[in-house]
Amino acid sequence: MTAAVIPSSRPVVPRRSGASLSAQVGLEVRKSLSTRSGVALVGAAALLAPAAMSVAVASSAEPLSSPTGPVVVTGMLSVLVLLALGVLSTAGEWTHGSVQTTYLLEPRRTRVLAAKAVAVAAVGAGVAAVAAGLATGVLALFGPSVPFDGVGRAVLVVGIAGAAFALVGAGIGAALGNTPGALTGVYLLNLGVLPLLQLFTPALADAIDPGNAVLSLAQGSEQAQSITVLTVWVAVALVAGAAMTRRRAVQ
């Protein structure tokens, strides 16, 4: 260990004020992508849609009237993975305890959650759009010949879904502050509760299922209702996350 004297030849001059919101968003993006779990999730999300499209193209002999459905459905597989990215960005910090460092550097917790939300939304949108683009490429190269009208809209909607689902994951992760609990909760809700609801009260399930909302949005039907459903999911998750984050002690 070197002499315990802090080098003083060049005095350290830290910024007088805290980091700007845009700088914080950049930091949160770097945090998400500086761990193996973050990189693995982004990689898996980017590759899942084209992989699923490859399997679909290889196993289906039926003609396609439009590429929108396959692009959105395979894209939604990637979007589901992005739920986990959102959860890890918030709940992961509570689970590892690194939230302590985060709040020592920026004690305004709502601002931290806002930066995380923008960061995961940006990453989620980008990765989902790339995944949908790659899936479209697979369909174009190896699938049946179909007119590609509306595929741009499908890719855009999958990107929006990526942002929305990552935000829902971040909100629920912040609300629960526990990675295993939040991951179990979000996937149980999406893959367990909503399908069950579809069996017993299909009208209600259709009305609140965010996956259905994404499909409707891509197909250009029920636009306002679809946007409302996605907005409500995101808003409820983030408000719950903000409320719980503000009051939770960092132990």
């Binding site: 315990a4 830290p14 980091a19 590892h96 460092t101 020592l104 550097l105 002690a249 132990q251």
Partner: protein, 290 residues
């Protein structure tokens, strides 16, 4: 400078920190002592704004920690060396903190060298030993060279060389006008590092003062050529005298000058005369015994 006034924390009906007040001045190292569960860590977390106080206030540089414009540049804090993402490398961890603080990236290399972690900087923190994590936490606290340092059990996991290094680091920081609050269960280490002691027991401050005054003196140990005659003379002069464990006489409440005067007046030959000083361990157990 840290000013804590009437800080109280209750969980349900249980009071874990009870009306704690103290002021830490620049240029001092203050030791924060107390048994497990006494309220040290909760107090420190309230100072850093991580745990909301039930009542009272804690100010760092005149403001609540959360109201400081760039708090990490004012107070370097080490509360839990394990509170890091194990999947990041040491360098990445520090780079993220440096960017949040707004200090140049070159500073990361400087603090890595300072804590002797340069060779491990590209390894994931999950593979670090406790001592290495502790040094990484100290490096993070020093990144912005803040005027105030608050360390909770920083010597945990450090080897003797590391503990000596840390002592030198903290003394040097105070010597440059910094304020240091240090909690530790290594009483000997604290005794040799701090200027002032805050002792907390059952959530309340039970002692607060300079180390020398808290350790104080508790009488005199004296040996004489004729102990029995000296004991009679001292008793006659009004002092309480008791036999020691090794043939010496223990004179409670007396100074060496008092005993020397009695001995000189009676013509007693002394072979040893020294003040009895309490160790920090004695003081600690006396003050915190509930």
């Amino acid at each position: 400078m840290i000013t804590v006034t009437g800080l109280t924390k209750q969980y349900g009906g249980r009071t874990v920190v009870d009306d704690v007040s103290f002021t830490l001045e620049p240029g001092t190292v203050t030791g924060f002592l107390g048994p497990n569960g006494a309220g040290k860590t909760t107090t420190m977390r309230m100072v850093a704004g991580l745990v909301p106080a039930t009542s009272g206030s804690a100010l760092v540089d005149g403001r609540p920690y959360a109201a400081l414009p760039n708090p990490g540049a004012v107070m370097g804090t080490l509360l839990d060396a394990g509170a890091v993402h194990p999947g990041r490398t040491g360098r990445t961890h520090l780079r993220l903190i440096a960017d949040a603080l707004g200090v140049p990236a070159a500073r990361v290399d400087a603090v890595l060298e300072l804590v002797d972690l340069t060779s491990a900087a590209r390894r994931r923190i999950g593979g670090y030993s406790l001592g290495m994590r502790q040094r990484l936490g100290i490096a993070a606290a020093l990144l912005a060279d803040p005027p105030v340092l608050m360390f909770d059990e920083p010597a945990n996991g450090l080897d003797p060389e590391g503990i000596r290094w840390m002592r030198s680091l903290l003394r040097d920081h105070a010597g440059r006008g910094g304020t240091v609050l240090l909690s530790s269960h290594l009483l000997g280490e604290v005794e040799h590092t701090v200027d002032r002691l805050l002792v907390i027991g059952g959530g309340r401050i039970v002692a607060d003062g300079p180390v020398a005054s808290l350790l104080g003196t508790d009488g005199v140990s004296v040996r004489a050529a004729d102990p029995a005659a000296l004991a009679r003379a001292l008793t006659g002069a009004g002092f309480a005298v008791a036999p020691g464990t090794d043939g010496e006489l223990v004179v409670s409440g007396a100074s060496p000058a008092d005993v020397g005067a009695v001995a000189a007046a009676g013509g007693h030959a002394l072979t040893d005369l020294r003040p009895l000083q309490r160790g920090l361990e004695d003081v600690f157990f006396t003050l915190t015994a509930a």
